[in-house]
Symmetry: C2
Subunit: 304 residues, 2 copies
Amino acid sequence: MIELRHLRTLVALRDAGSLVEAAERVHLTQSALSHQIKDLEERLGTALFMRKTRPVEFTRAGQRLLSLAEQVLPLVRMAERDVARLIGHEPGRLHMAIECHSCFQWLMPTIDSFRDHWPEVEIDIPGGHHFDPLPALAREQLDLVITADPQPLPSVHYEPLFRYQGLLAVARQHRLADRAFVEPEELAEETLITYPVEHARLDVFTQFLDPAGVRPREVRTAELTIMMMQLVASGRGVCALPNWALTEYLERDYVKAVGLGETGMWSTLYAAIRDESREQAWMEDFLRTARETSFAVLEGIKPA
Amino acid sequence: MIELRHLRTLVALRDAGSLVEAAERVHLTQSALSHQIKDLEERLGTALFMRKTRPVEFTRAGQRLLSLAEQVLPLVRMAERDVARLIGHEPGRLHMAIECHSCFQWLMPTIDSFRDHWPEVEIDIPGGHHFDPLPALAREQLDLVITADPQPLPSVHYEPLFRYQGLLAVARQHRLADRAFVEPEELAEETLITYPVEHARLDVFTQFLDPAGVRPREVRTAELTIMMMQLVASGRGVCALPNWALTEYLERDYVKAVGLGETGMWSTLYAAIRDESREQAWMEDFLRTARETSFAVLEGIKPA
DNA sequence: GATTTATCATGACATTAGCTCATGTGCTTG
DNA sequence: CAAGCACATGAGCTAATGTCATGATAAATC
């Protein structure tokens, strides 16, 4: 008997293009998917996709099942939402803080799509708070915080969203422009441009420079990503940003990007929420939507 | 995660009206369904149906999932059929013999619905064969035989369709009319009306009278059920028929029905097919359709 | 063309979901 | 109030469904 599990796998496979990555998306091993699909194929009596092409190519039978999945899975999700709505009639509240300036890029589409499904949830991003958002979360002043450095707090749960790589943006003619990666020491004579937030919240420092005991010659700040890009492009400094925040500038050949350290500087972005709210159907749905939107909108990120 | 299994269970539950019978339909135990649904309810956080009513009554959440099932399951079946069709392009042949006169009642709607889905399968009920159908099945002159007495033959497989109870139809004013059941000996002085087929193929004899060494005073035959009913109603004899073949006459209060023996005479109706054809998608589908149609059209039958 | 790197397949083992069995509880019915 | 029926529940088992370790194969890199 064919099950929804199979359909979800097929969709992941198509979106990912390979078994390995599809496996990450559905949080299973490559082997599990291989077995699962093989089993399904045996029961159906036909192959579902070609393994020797990249991205994988679906047979006609595979395509038919994919189209089934496209029809069916949204229906299932809608039903689940309806059921969830039938249960809890208390309107939800979703006040959030974002510790990650570039996150608006995926957060806005996420919120848009979420609002369609859960109109009764009150969404807000309260501005002008100068308090520390994570304790505010515990105090129930906030309901969700997007952050890259989880700190253990009672009753706060960190839900990983995705992993991304921090890259160093440099001018095209910069001396480091053609390097695959740089070592911390090489930034000692550079001007580093950052968002105007505390030192401890910038992972170029916490993960890269501080461990090596290096301080850049100068640090200056800019509010917006595009301003940073202006400064970098005109050779006024370098700046570290998530890979996906850079893609559009890289495509336009506006700046160059190099890795931070040999292994690259990978971070995980988390949604911090209170333990209790993990149960709420709309919260689950928000996180799912966030992940889906991110993977659709951003390039170069990986499942956590 | 909700799975198709759950949806199939819910549909069975609604159709059956009780967990016990639903369990029979999906070929699981009552316990399994109880666990399965409980588990689902816990994950959803809400009850799906009321257990204390008969037939069971669905909560709003339950109804929502039912409606999901109604949308989704047909789509899944269609996709499965399409996939099956993509594989085997050889048009199928379905020539059948029916060893059960009353069976046309459910067989005709079955065939109608099947033909819609598998237009390329050539369906026929070759008439005028006076050979024994089961060997003809093995010889590939036939592809399916509806029968109530399976005889072991190499490469022939018997797929149970449903169980039914043989009842004795008697005139309203008959001396046995108010009995719950009769013993074989009580038929020694009766005229028994049967279809014009060999003795060994009539289960009133093989299962009821022969074991007790009883022969009715007289045996006469009639071709059609309705003729039998005429004769019975006018006191010219009694006749044994499947419960479901009698319902329409019982509802019109045309005749009365009594059980055969204290435990009742239960038989199982089988579809005999060749081993190889068990694999064919359209054959599976025919059997499924047959079962579904039977349960929809006939009253008082049970899953095999 | 050799070497490295990637993906998928596969067999053995592990885990767990999902089932059956046996039994308990509560409702209905005679 | 006893009997019958339907559902619930806990224990235990099995088979389905995973993981791990490894090998084969194809593409990418040197």
